[in-house]
C-alpha cells in the first residue's frame, strides 16, 4: 500500500485546521475578543506572544485559532450547500434530459457568466454582513462546476449496462439516480468539493477583508487581514499569520483533493484490500 504524499500532507493540514478550530478554547492563550490590553499593543512575536499582538493588544495566536472556526465553517458548510445543489440539479438534468435539462443548463451558464464572488457580493449586500449571510451567499454561488460535472457524469452513466439493467429490474427513477448514478460519480464530486472548500475559505477571506464577513471584533482570518492592512509595514506579523493560516488551509485542501482523486477510484480501492 502506497500512501500518496499529497493525500497525507493535504489531509494533515486540513485535519490540523479542524483540530485547531475545535480545540481553540483550550489551545488559546487569551480570549480573542475580551483580552484587549493597550499596555502590550503591537508586540512583535516573542515567547510570550507567539504570533505577536495587534493594535489593541490582543494575542494574534489566539485570534488565529478562533479564526479557524469561521473559515472552516464557511468553507465546509457553504461547499456542502453547493455540492448538494450542484449534484441535485446536474444529476437530474443529465438523467431526465429534455426541458428540465435546458432549464438547468441555462441556469448553469448564467452562474458561470457572473463571477461567483461578484454574485456573492450582491447577495451579501442584500442580506447584510454576518456568518449566516456568508454561508448563504457562498453556498448559492459556487455550484456550477459541480452541476456541470454531475450532469456530464449522469449523461455518460445513463447508457451504462448496469443503469439499463436497473431499469429492467424495476428500479424507479429516484432509486436509479441514488443507487446507480450517484455512487459512480461521487469520486470526482468529492474532489471538486474539496477544491471548492479551499476557494470558499479564500472567498470568506475576501468578503471579510471587504468588511462584509463576520463582524469585528470576532476574528476571522479575512477580517484580521483587513484590520492589519494599515500596519502592514510597521507590524507585518498582523498580516503574516492569518495569511499563512489561509494559505496552509487552502493548500491542504487542494492537496487533499488531488489525493482523493486517486483513492476514490473503485478499482484501486479494492486492489488495496
Amino acid at each position: 500500500m502506497k500512501l500518496r504524499a499529497n493525500l497525507v500532507i493535504g489531509g494533515s493540514l486540513f485535519a490540523l485546521a479542524i483540530v485547531v478550530g475545535l480545540l481553540a478554547p483550550w489551545l488559546a492563550h487569551t480570549d480573542p475578543v475580551m483580552d484587549a490590553n493597550l499596555m502590550n499593543a503591537e508586540e512583535p512575536p516573542s515567547w510570550t506572544w507567539w504570533f505577536g499582538t495587534d493594535g489593541q493588544g490582543r494575542d494574534i495566536y489566539s485570534r488565529v485559532l478562533y479564526g479557524a472556526r469561521v473559515s472552516l465553517t464557511v468553507g465546509i458548510v457553504s461547499q456542502l450547500i453547493n455540492s448538494v445543489i450542484g449534484v441535485a440539479l446536474g444529476l437530474s438534468a443529465g438523467y431526465f434530459g429534455g426541458w428540465w435539462d435546458d432549464i438547468v443548463n441555462a441556469l448553469t451558464n448564467l452562474m458561470l457568466a457572473i463571477p461567483s464572488l461578484i454574485f456573492a457580493l450582491a447577495i451579501m449586500a442584500v442580506l447584510g454582513p454576518g456568518l449566516t449571510s456568508l454561508l448563504i451567499a457562498l453556498g448559492l454561488t459556487n455550484w456550477s462546476f459541480t452541476c456541470r460535472l454531475a450532469r456530464a457524469s449522469a449523461l455518460s452513466l445513463r447508457s451504462q449496462g448496469y443503469v439499463q439493467a436497473a431499469t429492467v429490474l424495476g428500479y424507479g427513477d429516484a432509486r436509479i439516480m441514488i443507487t446507480q448514478l450517484l455512487p459512480n460519480m461521487l469520486g470526482p464530486i468529492v474532489v471538486i468539493g474539496t477544491l471548492g472548500m479551499g476557494s470558499a475559505v479564500l472567498s470568506e477571506a475576501v468578503l471579510s477583508f471587504l468588511g462584509l464577513g463576520v463582524r469585528p471584533p470576532f476574528p476571522s482570518w479575512g477580517s484580521m487581514l483587513s484590520e492589519a492592512r494599515e500596519q502592514i509595514t510597521t507590524a507585518p506579523w498582523l498580516s503574516i499569520f492569518p495569511g499563512l493560516a489561509i494559505f496552509l488551509t487552502v493548500l491542504g485542501l487542494n492537496l487533499l483533493g488531488d489525493g482523493l482523486r486517486d483513492i476514490l477510484d473503485p478499482q484501486s480501492r479494492s486492489r488495496r484490500t
Partner: protein, 326 residues
Amino acid sequence: MTGRPLLEVEDLRIDLDDGSRRVAAAEGVSFRIDRGETFGLVGESGCGKSITALALIGLLRPPLSIGGGVIRFEGQEIQHLSAARQRQLRGNRIAMIFQEPMTALNPVSPVGRQIAEMFVLHRGKSWREANQLAVEALASVRVPAPERRVKDYPHQLSGGMRQRVMIAIALACGPDLLIADEPTTALDVTVQAEIIELMRNLCAERGTAILMISHDLGLVANVCRRVAVMYAGRIVEERGSADIFRAPSHPYTQGLVDSLPRLGSRAALGRSRLKEIAGVVPAITRFPDGCRFNPRCTQATDICRTTAPQADGLEAGGFVRCHHHA
C-alpha cells in the same frame, strides 16, 4: 390458471420513427409462452429480437415505440399499463438478463447489496432480511462461499461468476418469466454451457418460464421446447425444437439448420464446408416488398416479390410464413 398462457403476444408491431417517417422494425409478431415453458427466439443480428423483448417489458424508448398489437401477461393487457404498474412487473414477475455480464452490474456496489436491493424494492424487506436472502440467492446459483462473496465488487469476479450473480438478481423475486437476451455470448464456451445449464435447472425447479433470445439456433433448440425464427422483423417459422431440426419448413430456417456444425458431420463429409446463407439482412428502411427473404431465397418466385406470405398452420403444430414451404 391452467390453459391460460403466461404470455401472449398478438400481432405486435414496433415502429421506428426516423424523424420523417415511421417504419415497422417488427410487425405481425405473435407467440405465446405457457407457464414454466421454454421458448426460443432466433434470428440474425438486427432482425428485431431485442426490441421485441424490450417491448414485452415496456422499455421501448424513442425512436422506437409499440405501433400496434396486444401483449397479455396472465391474461391482462400490459402494453398500456402506467409506468408505475409496469415497474412493478419488471424484475418482479418478468425478469431479464443480458448479454454483457461485464457491464450489467454496478461497479461501485458489492454484489450482495445489488441482490438484496431486489428484495427491498419488490418485496418490501428490511435491509437486514434482504442481506440474508442475498446470501441464499447467491448460494442457489452455486457461487462458492456466498457469505464472503456477497461483499465482493463486480470487478473481483470472473465473467461466469458475474453472470451467476445476474441470474441470482433476476431470479431473486421468483419471476414467472425470465427473458434471457444472448445471456452467454460474451462468455467462453465451457462457461457458457455451465451457465445455460444452471439457468435451465433453476427455472425448471421454480416453474419459471424462459424466453431465450439468441442468434444461435443450436443453443436455443437445445434449451427450449419451442422455437420461433425471426427474419427482418417477422417471425417466419415457429415449431417445436425437434421438428425444426428434423424438418425445417421455411427456406431461411433450412439455411440456418444447414449452417449449423453437427457432431461428426464434418468428418463424414470430409472437406465440405458449412453452408452459409448468401446475401445480407436488409436494412429496416429497405425491406423488400413481398416476402422479405426473397432476395436471398433460392426458391423465390414472382409471387414472393409482390405478396407477403401469411402464416400457415402446420399439422404438427406451429406455423410457417412462406408461399412454397415444405
